[in-house]
Amino acid sequence: MTEPTIYELSSAGRIGVRYPESDVPAFDIPDEFIRTDLPLPELSEVDVVRHFTHLSTMNYSIDRGLYPLGSCTMKYNPKINEVTSRLPGFANIHPLQPIETVQGNLALMYNLQEQLKEISGFAAVSLQPAAGAQGEFVGVKIIRAYHQSRGDTRRTRILIPDSAHGTNPATSAMNGLEVIPIPSDSRGNVDLVKLHELCDETVAGLMLTNPNTLGVFDENVIEVIETVHKSGGLVYGDGANLNALLGITRPGDLGFDVMHFNLHKTFSTPHGGGGPGSGPVGVAPHLVDFLPAPIVSIVEEATDEVPPLYGFTIPAKTIGRVKAFCGQFGVMVRAFTYIRMHGADGLRKVSEYAVLNANYILSKIRRKYTLPYNRSYMHEFVVEGCWSDAPDVHALDVAKRLMDYDFHPPTNYFPLIVHEALMIEPTETESKQVLDKFADALLKIAEEAHSSPELLKEAPHHTPVGRLDEVKAAKELVLCCWLPDRN
């Protein structure tokens, strides 16, 4: 079932869309600049529609079924978000229009900032970062800037738990900080003894995901944060797992100094096959001045007759701009729509059911899958995708076999501290029926692993392609194709 590429479908002379002829007098283009060869394919509109429609049928998607991917929060993407974000008053606005002509957008952004502040317990929010990783970059940069502003230049190290997402150490390295891994204890919490040992005046802070990537809420979170604060460091919160905490607790209240949000996880904006995301950052009062510029604020207060005038301000000690214009605005509209539909009660329900769903699956499969930490779990949990009495079977094989049951696999091989990890996060939008089917599939696969492991090793069987040769891809490195008439 191979779909040709647009290059293979190309037929000289075809064009997919026509434009009107020029209605102005002709001007010459200087010869030395004229491009003589533009090797793009030529397709008709029908060719294009059919081609991409065929491609779409080869994709799994949330609209098709469950994605139990831990730490990704693959909840249902409400269709109303697609309507609101496409309203012409949002979609057709140039980013540099005078602020008087974009008061609707600025009001929306201001209110989204306020909503995120309230949800997380922070004093101020910047909507500028384009994704979670960029939000992390901003957060860590703010921590560095804060210490530097106090004349404290010794803090060049940052503590990161061994269960952390890879973006955490990568972000720290990008900020010129030395990464010091901190282990988890036998209950999956940050090792307090180690933490006390490591916290000193060379430590800028700690990056903490809570609940962490194991799916557990740190039982000592208050002490962890106080320990870091006592030694003069700050605590960065990775908000990837916020779906467990809406209306349950607020990171700002717990003592976090700065945190990023993932609008494309917690707040239902679509994953789009790899983006766009949006990674706003919230900060505690002492860090407000460092946020990236610009922030949306009220520049003229409302009176009885007129609404407030919204505009942009530059925080006094800003770390600078991290993206052109104001951020992923189209994504913000979707998140705003979602939050408005839910309100406080709705958001709390989201987290309650996210946690209920994860624990329900766990209750059904734990007799057949090893759970490395004997804890209560939140919106996700990690099990081992292997059995000592089925030595040939790995988590990868379990993952591939799930595709034969028409499920997307859970996250594989992460976090690194669990052997053959399978990280499962169903989210709150999955029904009991779907969860039952998924649990049954996992139990069946556990059985197959022992009775007929080749079913797993050769999986998937029913997909457009089977397991692909990744070694060949990396060695031969074919990263693009060309028109047939060009070598």
Partner: protein, 450 residues
């Protein structure tokens, strides 16, 4: 709202878990901080939220209701209907990152095609799956160059004619990083300096020279000599390119660019107040492994069927962790699909046609404006679809008058360049008819008379 559970199902599930009620699931949260009362407006139904969002959207003046001559990094181009109709397919927009290739061939092949189109368009050997936008792609070029020389070269030379916001972002990423120094041309000559004036700054400590093509002021330069000088000194050349322009003018690969980055918004992506947009990043074969971001490669399965996978993933954050050169994870997936469809629809002839329309109309506008007393075309170099006009009054004042007449005027360069008060950057695209341009010119004439 989107939670399907009935009361009975919830009871059954709680029983299976072994707790009495939902609140019991949160025993690990310290009691003092548990279940805060969030001060948010009550949730509303779909009907109500649509009405509310419509109110917000109507408090704006969209470009679709105005005639626009505003560019400066985001351009009002026609978006063919096919694009959104395909983008709205749930199989595309509700799909996840293609980490499981067997069930993501749709996304993977589309990205592979995107990589191919961008490589062809820019004249490079390979492209990645995208960065957040043109500004961050430019910053990543700096990061890549720094790591390519393994920290042994610490100077980056940044033309002052690169988009001001891109320069800010590059600085946010690199200014305090290790011992990197960023130089922005000679201070005396100002923003309109010629690229040849960057040449004396290049030395054996230079990792990267960055120029824009066409530059922020719309000018087109021949960068061949600059490229030669950059390479003579062993450094790399990055070109920030406008993708529409590349339908008409020579590709940076032809004149010696090592890295080509830019903003892909003109390729079928709505203006949407600045985001989500699309950063593209392309480079030469020998630099491919230094490129950050996702890469899709072609391969086969056990039955010999062709398929696509994410490749060279060992460079990325989830494996390399603190040794990764970039932390990028989520990119701009759906926007790359939009650009791929746009370029597939337009193809070799369509893109050239759009580029040519922009060129012709911009030159007509420039010619007409140059006849208005008090208004002066500042630059004599060839330009693509933007040009700088010196105005007899502050740009803000002129734009207010224009807006009263339904026209969105050009960008006030005084905002970013203190030496350029009263200078307007005018952009013209295929969306501007001759009549639009004539009305614009007339209104400028009137504004100049007061």
């Amino acid at each position: 709202m989107f939670i399907p559970h009935t009361k009975a199902e919830t009871e059954e599930m709680l029983k299976s878990i072994g707790v009495c009620n939902l609140a019991d699931l949160f025993a690990d949260v310290p009691e003092k901080y548990r279940f805060p009362r969030l001060n948010l407006p009550s949730g509303v139904t779909e009907m109500e939220v649509l009405s509310e969002l419509e109110d917000y959207s109507q408090a704006n003046e969209p470009v679709s209701e105005l005639v626009s001559f505003l560019g400066a990094g985001a351009y009002n181009h026609y978006i063919p209907a096919v694009i959104d109709s395909l983008l709205r397919r749930g199989e595309f927009y509700t799909a996840y990152t293609p980490y499981q290739p067997e069930i993501s061939q749709g996304t993977l092949q589309a990205v592979f095609e995107f990589q191919s189109l961008i490589s062809n368009l820019t004249g490079m050997d390979a492209s990645n799956a995208s960065h957040y936008d043109g500004a961050t792609a430019t910053a990543e070029a700096g990061v890549m160059a720094y790591h390519h020389f393994r920290g042994k070269r610490t100077r980056i030379i940044l033309s002052p004619a690169v988009h001001p916001q891109y320069r800010e972002v590059l600085c946010s990423y690199l200014c305090n990083y290790e011992n990197i120094s960023i130089e922005t041309g000679s201070k005396e000559k100002g923003p309109f300096e010629n690229p040849s004036e960057l040449i004396p700054l290049i030395d054996d400590q230079t990792a990267l020279v960055v120029v824009q093509y066409p530059d922020f002021f719309g000018r087109i330069f021949d960068y061949r000599i600059l490229a030669e000088k950059v390479h003579e000194n062993g450094a790399l050349l990055a070109v920030v390119a406008n993708p529409t322009a590349l339908g008409l003018i020579k590709a940076p690969g032809e004149f010696g660019a090592d890295i080509v980055v830019g903003e892909g918004q003109p390729l079928g992506i709505p203006l949407s107040y600045g985001g989500p947009y699309l950063g593209f990043f392309a480079t030469k074969k020998d630099l491919v492994r230094k490129m950050s971001g996702r890469l899709v490669g072609e391969t086969t399965d056990a039955q010999g069927r062709r398929g696509y996978v994410l490749t060279l993933t060992a460079r990325e954050q989830h494996i390399r962790r603190e040794k990764a050169t970039s932390n990028i994870c989520t990119n701009q997936g759906l926007m790359t699909l939009a650009a791929t469809i746009y370029l597939s629809l337009l193809g070799r002839h369509g893109l050239k046609q759009v580029a040519n329309l922009c060129y012709q109309k911009a030159h007509y506008a420039a010619q007409q404006i140059s006849t208005i007393p008090g208004f002066e075309l500042v630059n004599k170099e060839p330009f693509f679809h933007e040009f700088v006009v010196k105005c007899p009054k502050p740009v803000g004042e002129i734009n207010r008058d224009l807006l009263d007449n339904g026209i969105l005027g050009g960008y006030d360069l005084g905002i970013d360049y203190p030496q350029l008060k009263n200078h307007m950057l005018v952009a013209v695209t295929e969306m501007n008819s001759k009549d639009d341009i004539d009305v614009f010119v007339e209104l400028l004439r009137e504004a100049g008379n007061d």
